[in-house]
Subunit: 245 residues, 2 copies
Amino acid sequence: MAQNIYDNPDFFAGYKELRDTGWGLNEVLEQPALRALLPPLAGATILELGCGMGQFARSCCEQGAAHITAVDVSERMLEVARRENAHSRIEYLRCAIETLELPTAHFDCVVSSLAFHYIQDYAALVRAIHLWLRPGGALVFSVEHPIVSAAGDTPGWIKDPEGRKLYWAVDNYAREGERVEKWFVDGVMRYHRTLATYINTLTENGFRVARVEEPEALPEAHVSRPTLEEESRRPPFLLIKAIRE
Amino acid sequence: MAQNIYDNPDFFAGYKELRDTGWGLNEVLEQPALRALLPPLAGATILELGCGMGQFARSCCEQGAAHITAVDVSERMLEVARRENAHSRIEYLRCAIETLELPTAHFDCVVSSLAFHYIQDYAALVRAIHLWLRPGGALVFSVEHPIVSAAGDTPGWIKDPEGRKLYWAVDNYAREGERVEKWFVDGVMRYHRTLATYINTLTENGFRVARVEEPEALPEAHVSRPTLEEESRRPPFLLIKAIRE
């Protein structure tokens, strides 16, 4: 069964508080990089996998998207989305990404922000997206960078006796699969995959890799958020744009 | 001016000794992965950039390649190549990769093993290779993995007081450029580039990315070389196969 950690009340409260600050790593690094990879949105039919609270879906509408199917497994997230980011051209749909059924060759763009690392069977998802996209359509997605997701049950940050972060350690990079971590609550499950797997699964299933991004914590971001200086030692996110052939 | 560290007598002696063991990481991991990415060699016209002692060039001939232009900047390496791996269909050529001039649309395959991280201007090299390859031709190359090359002047292995390797630390991943290290001798210069740069420079200059590999230290390799168990915590090599369009 698909994990639905976002409906855990404690997780949800912690997560929403982070997002509401407006200067989490997502807002400062990941979202600008994701948006820069999007094809022209005017008139486009879009599928968003893991739409969360709907900010991205609404902004696509504001940039002229014709229709957005915005999918999330979490009822709590969708409740916020419907309240705060309703739009006549957004259809919010509660469904696990893994069990989604959609028309074939229907979408101009499939976009997903930081959701694919929750999906156990990435290859099956890539094949499904290939069906849902029109030829020439774009898949644009972000995940935790494999350098980050390699950790989990292994150390990650190596700290000094005062708890300051010294180094980010990459262990077990080649060992793909489950990583269970505490993030707001215990037992959050994600799946680590190597870069090679992220890319080859696309090229093996009818996609052309157009661009890869590893957004960097910029000095101007450090000003507003001092911990970004520590974060800048590792690439937090991997983004890929691929064209369905 | 291009670096020619392989003609340093101390470097050359240390390097040749490592290669002669036959169970360096190159032999156990990198070479099998590189060979698996090659297009069919029978009848092919091949360019090898950084041919070293010529083992690879000779094996391509033995698999039916029509002709190999095998380039290296090091006279010491080429001296071994001409003595130990001469072949009627190999032309050994002493030249820095950066200053090479070759006919356009001439080669079926350009291959390079662990040389591109010595090249300062990767984009210029990619554009040159695009000229030299025939449409549909393959570029297959390996480099130090960016997870490894990110270190250099920053720590890399974090060790315990007894000198045992504990963690591989990734720092300054996003900071591309020179890394000066001791490897047999002081002052060996390499260039760190992110994965995104390795891939996007290809897609921006007329190549399609076909496959990426990050070969893993396998248990059977551990048997013959115990330190591979430590090495397996990080991916030592990145290999890319790209098709010239």
